[in-house]
């Protein structure tokens, strides 16, 4: 592949344009990622700033914020997803035509952020949607969103027509829309955001990585520094781990008592 690209680039210098159908498709996709005009909290302000002239999202072909999910390719989940709003977010995603991408913007959309221990905020939109790119920050700067768009573009570059599901014969599947329960959101009668215990694990992968998470730790050869990705963590189900998180076991969330040092 790399040799092929080198030949292509060399030919392009000579004014001969040769392309593969993959590269041509992906060029079209990456150059016109139209986001859904959809904001939930303060991250949306940064998203608007990104779309305006100073940061100029149009340089990436992503300036066309569509008011209808039917015309959008990208959902930027910009802000705190409350439990009351989560079903609507999933419904909007289901209404988007494929291929569709999700950027989880900011700490709240990614994990619940500062509201994680509250009663009303969803602990990460990835419990219900397959997220392609996560952006840390509270809120992230427009540069961070631009970087996420560029990361998404490089992901789109890696799509293979014969591998990606939506070019095949299988139909788009709707993601289950959560319903309201007595304690929280439910899917098929099962509480999806239980209180306490380990941080929740998303059941979904990025669509480019196969959408369904297997429950195994992916790429075990890589060193993980984030506790939840520790391969000693056993999974109870697709989105719940067994036992108490390592950082709680070592009492890392509280303020450490100052160590008594004898002078």
């Amino acid at each position: 592949m790399s040799e092929d690209s080198e030949i292509q680039f060399e030919l392009e210098k000579q004014g001969v344009f040769v392309s593969t159908i993959n590269r041509f498709y992906n060029w079209g996709r990456r150059s016109s990622v139209w986001p859904l005009a959809f904001g939930l909290a303060c991250c949306a302000i940064e998203m608007m700033a990104t779309g305006l002239s100073r940061y100029d999202l149009a340089r990436f072909g992503a300036e066309m914020f569509r008011a209808s999910p039917r015309q959008a390719d990208l959902m930027i989940v910009a802000g705190t997803v409350t439990k009351k709003m989560a079903p609507q977010v999933v419904r909007l995603y289901n209404q988007m035509p494929e291929p569709r991408y999700v950027i989880s913007m900011g700490a709240c959309a990614t994990s619940g952020g500062p509201f994680r221990d509250g009663y009303n905020v969803l602990r990460g939109i990835d419990l219900f949607l397959p997220v392609d790119v996560y952006i840390p920050g509270c809120p992230p700067r427009p540069e961070a969103l631009l970087h996420a768009i560029m990361t998404l573009q490089s992901q789109i570059d890696d799509q293979k027509l014969n591998r990606v599901r939506w070019y095949g014969k299988t139909e788009a599947k709707d993601f289950p829309v959560p319903t309201f329960g007595k304690q929280g959101l439910k899917i098929d009668g099962r509480l999806i955001d239980p209180v306490g215990g380990l941080p929740l694990i998303s059941p979904y992968n990025s669509p480019l990585a196969g959408e369904q998470r297997s429950g195994r730790i992916e790429h075990p050869e890589l060193a993980r520094f984030f506790p939840i990705m520790d391969d000693t963590v056993e999974l109870e189900g697709p989105n719940k781990a067994v036992g108490i998180a390592p950082e709680i076991a070592i009492d890392d969330l509280r303020k450490r008592k100052p160590e008594v040092t004898s002078a």
Binding site: K83, K84, D117, Y119, F180, V195, G196, G197, I244, I248
Partner: protein, 190 residues
């Protein structure tokens, strides 16, 4: 510019609406002593907890019997002219078994706000609704119901406003279970 102090309001209420003010609490005397002690010697800050537990219920504001709330609110609006209800909110005093409702009014000519309070037991938190004659209280009473479980008989549409209808419990009450990983050990101890 209208300005009515809490003492003035209490005087007016005793004169014009006899029996509306709640009887003074038995602990009140102890409270004045407790609050007077630090005033005499402000630079020497008393150690925390040195003068006994802080009385959270001590207040200067007018405390009204809960069943007289509609009368008092009407009086405040029609006679005193405080026509803007800026706040209707609640506080949960779990240790004392009380829920306190605070009605805060503003005079449209300006001046400081004026508060009246009422206290109801936590297990029977019932306060007559003022929405029938004061529509601006509609959402605020629904919020107090949603978050604190205060019942407002007479309200035309007392349903949850922030949480979904299926939700169980009142999240702003002090005994609503705290959520999250960092409380696991505390719950085990308790």
């Amino acid at each position: 510019m209208p300005s009515m102090s809490a003492e003035e309001l209490k005087e007016r209420l005793t004169r014009d609406l006899p029996g509306a003010l709640a009887p003074a609490r038995a602990k009140a005397e102890h409270v004045t002593n407790g609050s007077a002690a630090p005033q005499t010697d402000p630079p020497a800050k008393p150690k925390k907890g040195a003068e006994g537990p802080v009385d959270l219920l001590a207040t200067n504001d007018a405390i009204v019997l809960s069943e007289r709330i509609p009368d008092v609110v009407r009086y405040v609006r029609d006679t005193l002219g405080y026509t803007f209800l800026t706040d209707l909110t609640a506080v949960d005093y779990m240790a004392d078994g009380l829920i306190e409702l605070i009605y805060r009014f503003l005079h449209l000519d300006g001046g400081p706000t004026m508060a009246i309070k009422t206290r109801v037991p936590r297990d029977r938190a019932v306060v007559p609704s003022i929405t029938p004659f004061w529509p601006g209280a509609d959402l605020q009473e629904r919020e107090a119901y949603d978050m604190y479980g205060v019942d407002f008989p007479g309200h035309p549409n007392l349903v949850r406003v922030y949480m979904w209808d299926e939700f169980e419990g009142f999240p702003m009450r002090k005994d609503f279970p705290r959520q999250g990983d960092k409380y696991i050990e505390e719950e085990d101890e308790a």
